[in-house]
């Protein structure tokens, strides 16, 4: 007797449907809508009707020419670099210490909990806390520096460009190095232990093992961290906005703040903001493509490579036989 066969494939579609619907309604449609608005004259509080511009790229040209948008991109890059390089170095150093089996560091669990802690605190709260900490003329940091004799009179950090950028970079560094470290450590734990045993047998020192065995194996994870951190950096909004409203003199204005200010203050230029969003989207898309390439399925690529190599060998054989 033949059993009635059930076709289960439809459940694959059915169970993915909520995800797809939510994505279409709340992501794709708004993205398309934003793209469209970027080519129109839509501006003014509470307006929803628009006409297409005769020069479709007028908003894009205007945004790219706007000094504050250029500043925003430069600031984003500066703040990100000042935060990422020390973050990466410290995370690597701590990873080396935490994964050194010969001299086991105790209390690792507690240290991880402490290092990661700032990451879960609301960014808005952290920004305001640092705003208060760097208060002028009275603030905890100024009081500390004066009592240590480093400065004679209070220093107004938040009216100076580089100190303000430095504070934002520090906050980013402080909230993320713990996460980066934990990710790196789990990456090291995923490395084949035989590699370390081999290094051990060959008499490699701790630093040598780290430099020549661990680091090369962490390359993918480091690249992944780099790209995700860059994409995260491009979205920076809460901290620069609440620390100093992008000031002084727009020195901490970021791309996301530019979009927000264009659309939700002043003359409510939804069209310009949309064009800026699309430029940001293009930058993020390029970075995501790089990330996607890094994370691509390794096995599939190896198989494809092997197949290619086999084809090559086969062709060479044929040529030799001729």
């Amino acid at each position: 007797m033949r059993r009635k066969s059930v076709n289960y494939a439809k459940y694959g579609y059915l169970f993915s449907l909520p995800f797809v619907l939510a994505f279409l309604v709340f992501s794709l449609y708004p993205i398309i809508y934003t793209t469209v608005i970027g080519f129109t004259d839509l501006k003014g509080l509470g307006k929803t009707t628009f006409k297409f511009l005769s020069n479709p790229f007028q908003n894009y040209q205007a945004v790219l020419k706007t000094v504050s948008f250029q500043k925003a991109l430069v600031n984003t890059a500066i703040i990100w670099i000042i935060n990422f390089i020390p973050q990466l170095l410290l995370a690597l150093l701590l990873t080396a210490w935490f994964t050194n089996n010969r001299h086991k560091l105790r209390g690792q669990g507690i240290f991880k909990v402490m290092f990661y802690m700032p990451n879960i605190i609301t960014a808005a709260t952290v920004a305001l806390l640092f705003y208060a900490m760097f208060g002028y003329p009275k603030g905890p940091v100024n009081d500390l520096l004066m009592s240590l004799g480093i400065i004679d009179s209070p220093y107004y950090f938040l009216i100076h460009k580089w100190p303000t950028r430095g504070i934002i970079s520090f906050i980013q560094f402080w909230t993320w190095y713990g996460q980066t470290m934990i990710v790196f450590i789990s990456g090291v734990l995923g490395i084949n232990p035989e590699l370390f045993e081999a290094a051990d047998i060959d008499g490699a020192s701790g630093p040598q093992t780290f430099l020549y065995v661990t680091l090369p194996c962490l390359k993918t994870i480091m690249l992944f961290t780099l790209v995700t951190s860059m994409i995260g950096g491009l979205q920076m909004f809460d901290i620069p906005r609440l620390l100093n409203l992008g000031g002084p003199d727009q020195s901490t204005l970021t791309a996301s703040m530019f979009i927000y200010d264009q659309a939700f203050s002043g003359s409510y230029m939804y069209n310009r903001a949309s064009a800026a969003s699309m430029i940001l989207f293009a930058i993020i898309a390029v970075l995501s493509a790089i990330l996607f390439y890094i994370m691509r399925d390794k096995d599939a690529i190896r198989l494809a490579k092997e197949k290619k190599a086999r084809m090559k060998a086969w062709k060479a054989q044929r040529r030799a036989a001729r």
């Binding site: 289960y8 909520p18 995800f19």
Partner: protein
């Protein structure tokens, strides 16, 4: 060498705690005390005084707390349930578009809210959903990162025999998922639920754009009010307001820290 390592780790730990310690201490101190010296490692006795000043103005921690609680809870439940369901569809069933759909999820992993915010705002404005919690909750149904994580988990732990025997017993597919798969996925769900909750709770950009009615303000929006002129010289109250917003997160973090750290480690890609 070892003691240097411990020293660095201890200094970094202090660096994590110190700003919050100063914040809590200053929350108990009066404005004149703070103006005298803003740096104190010991508490004073003006906590209630600061609380009175704080609550007499626009800062309303209870409203913010409950609004954030509603949004974060709703978003978390939707994220973990539907991400698990989508991951289940991706691992258990053999359907034609399975691989393309997974590729698609990977491709949209990194799209931030900022790039669609204008369209999103206009859309919500037209359907009269500004000042509603729905646009802050419903998009959580599509969380590509969580789907990715759940799929990894299912690939590593799920045995198809369980599903087959459930089918022989005559269980319907959704029933199998709800009653058999969800319990299996509990550890992964717990981890992702913590991150989804904290992520939603801390969200600032979207609520700032959408919510204009002060009765609907979330906790981070309440926090941003502390920067305004109304609290200009009430330093103690500002610190207390900040403390009130950090307190629930501290409680969550230090009770669940073990799972959170494990979750961060798992979230990384493995070669």
């Amino acid at each position: 060498m070892m003691s240097l390592k411990y020293l660095v780790c201890i200094i970094l730990s202090i660096l994590s705690i110190l700003p919050f310690w100063i914040m809590v201490m200053n929350a108990t101190r009066s404005t004149p005390e703070i103006q005298q010296s803003a740096l104190s490692l010991l508490p004073s006795k003006y906590l209630l005084n600061n609380l009175n000043i704080l609550l007499n103005k626009s800062f309303n921690p209870l409203t913010g707390f409950f609004n954030s609680l509603i949004i974060a809870t709703g978003a978390t439940v939707l994220t973990v349930y539907f991400s698990s369901l989508t991951a289940y569809a991706l691992t258990v069933y053999d359907w034609k578009l399975r691989q393309p759909f997974f590729t698609f999820i990977m491709a949209i992993l990194m799209i931030p809210a900022q790039v669609s915010i204008i369209g999103f705002y206009q859309f919500m404005y037209r359907v009269h959903w500004t000042n509603s919690f729905w646009p802050l909750i419903l998009p959580s149904i599509a969380a590509p990162g969580v789907v990715f994580f759940m799929r990894q988990y299912l690939l590593a732990t799920l045995q198809l025999d369980i599903i087959n025997s459930a089918r022989i017993d005559g269980a319907r597919e959704l029933y199998t998922f709800n009653r058999i798969i969800i319990p299996i996925m509990k550890p992964a769900i717990a981890t992702q639920a913590i991150f989804a909750f904290v992520g939603s709770w801390n969200q600032f950009f979207m609520p700032l754009v959408l919510l204009t009615d002060s009765k609907k303000y979330t906790m981070p929006i309440m926090v941003s009010l502390l920067r305004g002129d109304i609290y200009k010289t009430e330093f103690g109250s500002i610190y207390l307001g900040l403390t009130l917003t950090v307190l629930p997160l501290f409680i969550v973090y230090f009770t669940l820290s073990k799972y959170i750290i494990a979750g961060v480690a798992l979230g990384s890609i493995k070669e």
